[in-house]
């Protein structure tokens, strides 16, 4: 299922990005050469993560990750492949209307393709770096991630707690 979603996602990204003038880039490219893309329209694909910060000015701030975990979450059988790679994104609140909650421990956030202007050290925002989103397309809806509780771990924990209680009782008697 995950593989199909990922392939579909990549296909959409390659074949039909919403704004043809924008250059398709990764978050890694933006972070490693932030100046190169300053003021340019770019398209980035990834998972919305963390929180949707609804500001008073009618905009939303959130984070877009395009690391491997965005496509293959650990709790969906993904492997450990290093740290997260993400960028801050900012856009009008109506872009996020009705969108699934962002990714966290117990859920994968929506996979989206966003197109916007890359702002590097924006002088109007105190030197912050982010993507000013103009359009947002949902490629895969967010979904819950199942956690598996290990019976062995639970049992081991219970045994240790009982043993500790015994040791503490013994210490108290002495």
């Amino acid at each position: 299922m995950m593989r199909v979603a990922t392939l579909l996602f990549i296909a959409v990204l390659l074949v039909g990005p919403p704004a043809m003038a924008a250059e398709s880039v990764s978050a890694t490219m933006l972070l490693e050469s932030p100046q190169t893309f300053d003021g340019q329209q770019v398209t980035v694909a990834g998972e919305l993560i963390g929180d949707y910060g609804h500001r008073d000015d009618g905009t939303v701030w959130t984070q877009l990750n395009d690391d491997q975990y965005a496509f293959s979450p650990l709790r969906d059988g993904g492997r450990l492949l290093g740290g997260n790679v993400g960028i801050g994104i900012h856009g009008a609140a109506d872009l996020f209307d009705g969108i699934d909650p962002p990714g966290r421990y117990n859920r994968a956030g929506p996979l989206v393709i966003v197109t916007g202007i890359w702002r590097y050290h924006d002088p109007d925002r105190g030197g912050e770096t982010y993507l000013e989103v103009g359009s947002l397309e949902i490629v895969r809806a967010g979904h819950p991630l199942n956690e598996s509780v290990s019976t062995t771990t639970l049992l081991l924990g219970a045994v240790l707690i009982f043993a500790a209680a015994g040791a503490l009782l013994l210490a108290r008697r002495r």
Binding site: L31, E32, P34, I49, G50, D51, Y52, G53, H54, R55, D56, V60, W61, Q63, N65, D67, Y69, P73, L74, R75, L80, L81, G82, G83, N84, G86, G88, H90, G103, R104, Y105, N106, H121, P123, R125, G126, G127, E128, T129, L145, E147, S148, V149, S150, T153, L154, L156, G157, A158, L160, I161, A163, A164, A165, G166, A167, L168, L170, A171, R174
Partner: protein, 496 residues
């Protein structure tokens, strides 16, 4: 003749370490309850195992209480060094079981980084990490910063327990009794905690637009990391995640509160001025100096298009470095490009560190001030006529004499920090890391800062992970307890 420790010595050490393990077990209940409340059941099971190990070892150790439980200096120092090793070893258990770490060494590295209030991390996919696991990492900051031993001293009394307090690298004695001093330190933490969490929550809720519970979660975790100058953050992009100047202002205030010694907190509570203190003057001077250096470096590189941007970013990064917190509003890949004066400013800020008896690391401002004063006195001695007597005095909560013995102690610890910085830098170089990055990361680890230029990753060689973990431990304890433990182990092996 080197004397082998007796059974009573071993039982005494085990008993005192055990008491701290029981406190750690109680601390572990907080993330367990959070995990259950938020439906994170797999992490809840992981915490159960950790609490069980803490409590079992604690129970066994307490049962070993010897008849004579008076701690002397050497016992106290060994106990402190062991606690700061054993707690991260066990505290790493849920981290390892979480699946966010590639190996137990990585999980141990994170736990050591947490408890030493460093903030370097080898965690993977933090953005999908269980909130209870994130909370535990921050509680480790709080335990280390406030810390475990202070908690124990507040609760337990016993002959010789003052050695534990001093063994942790603290030398402020606010009240005549260490127990009262410990309680005052907790009072400071609680008052700052309530004010800090409320302020952060308000900004998160009203300005950032987060929901109520998420505002609380971000506020609580960021408070623990800021006030205890730790540096872990709930999201992978650190403080850059929030994109909010008001949020950064509150964090900056908390970092400043964290970098102040508890003696300064006490003086401020009593509305006494601390501006005459050598330490206050030194830290104001070094902070201003490193900030100016960094700003000149960034301006020369034309890194920012506006003075406001340059000022905001440089101020936050330098304050984070000088206070030993390790928060950042820019990615590590960008920090790695800061060369020249900006690199110099940041590195010096990290190496010098905050105030003595605070939660920050590094050489510490009082030592820096005293070192400069000692050098000035030496120069004066040379310039004055032979036989002239110079009285070295300084002001630190009252006039004090700068004796030769005091000078030697200050110089020795300062030199040990320099040696520790160089040791990590040298091993980094041997691991084929460029000099500038190797030095930056080594100082960041040894001074318990936590800023990274991208060297600290799960892919770095194990030898570097072990080196940085050792640096965090030795730097946090200010060496003496570490030497005491080495001496103790030596006497255990070779004593008669």
């Amino acid at each position: 003749m080197l004397l082998r420790p007796t059974t009573n010595d071993l039982r005494l050490i085990a008993y005192n370490v055990a008491r701290m393990l029981l406190i750690s077990a109680v601390a572990g209940v907080v993330p367990l309850l959070w995990a259950v409340a938020t439906g994170e059941l797999a992490p809840a099971a992981d915490f159960l195992v950790m609490i069980g190990v803490f409590a079992l070892l604690g129970g066994i150790g307490v049962a070993l209480k010897p008849a004579n439980d008076r701690l002397d200096w050497s016992h106290g120092m060994v106990v402190v060094a062991l606690i700061w090793l054993v707690v991260p070893v066990i505290g790493a258990v849920p981290l390892f079981l979480s699946g966010n770490f590639a190996s137990w060494l990585d999980a141990f590295f994170d736990a050591m980084s947490g408890i030493t209030t460093t903030g370097l991390t080898l965690a993977q996919d933090i953005d999908h990490m269980a909130s209870s696991m994130i909370l535990w990492r921050h509680i480790l900051h709080f335990l280390g910063g406030q810390g475990i031993i202070i908690a124990a001293l507040s609760l337990f009394s016993g002959a010789g327990t003052a050695t534990l307090y001093f063994g942790e690298g603290r030398d402020d004695r606010i009240y005549p009794s260490v127990r009262s001093t410990s309680r005052f330190i907790w009072l400071v933490a609680i008052v700052n905690g309530i004010a800090g969490i409320l302020a952060l929550m308000l900004v998160a809720y009203l300005d950032l637009g987060f929901g109520f519970m998420r505002s609380f979660f971000h506020a609580a975790t960021i408070f623990m990391a800021a006030f205890d100058t730790g540096g872990f953050a709930p999201q992978s992009t650190s403080i850059g995640y929030y994109h909010s100047a008001p949020f950064e202002v509150v964090i900056a205030v908390l970092m400043i509160a964290g970098v102040m010694s508890f003696g300064v907190h006490f003086a401020l509570w009593r509305r006494r001025s601390v501006m005459g203190n050598l330490e206050t003057k030194t830290i104001l001077f070094t902070f201003s100096g490193t900030l100016v250096l960094t700003m000149i470096g960034l301006a020369a590189a034309r890194a920012y298009g506006s003075a406001a941007g340059l000022g905001r970013q440089a101020f936050f990064q330098v304050l984070s470095a000088h206070s030993g917190t390790g928060f950042s509003t820019i990615p590590s890949s960008e920090l790695a490009t800061w060369g020249g004066l900006a690199f110099g400013g940041m590195t010096i800020a990290m190496a010098l560190g905050g105030m003595a008896s605070s939660t920050s690391g590094g050489v510490k401002s009082l030592r820096v001030g005293l070192t400069v004063k000692s050098i000035a006195s030496q120069v004066k001695q040379v310039l004055l006529p032979e036989g002239a007597v110079i009285s070295d005095r300084f002001y630190q909560n009252g006039p004090r004499h700068l004796t030769d013995e005091f000078k030697q102690g200050v110089m020795a610890i300062s030199l040990l920090y320099v040696a520790l910085y160089l040791l990590g830098g040298g091993i980094g170089l041997a691991a084929h890391i460029p000099l500038q990055n190797a030095l930056f990361e080594s100082i960041s680890a040894a001074a318990n800062v936590g800023l990274s230029v991208g060297v600290t990753t799960p892919a770095m060689p194990d030898v570097l992970k072990i080196t940085y973990a050792f640096q965090m431990w030795a730097g946090r304890l200010e060496f003496i307890s570490v030497f005491a433990l080495v001496g103790f182990l030596w006497s255990l092996a070779r004593g008669k």
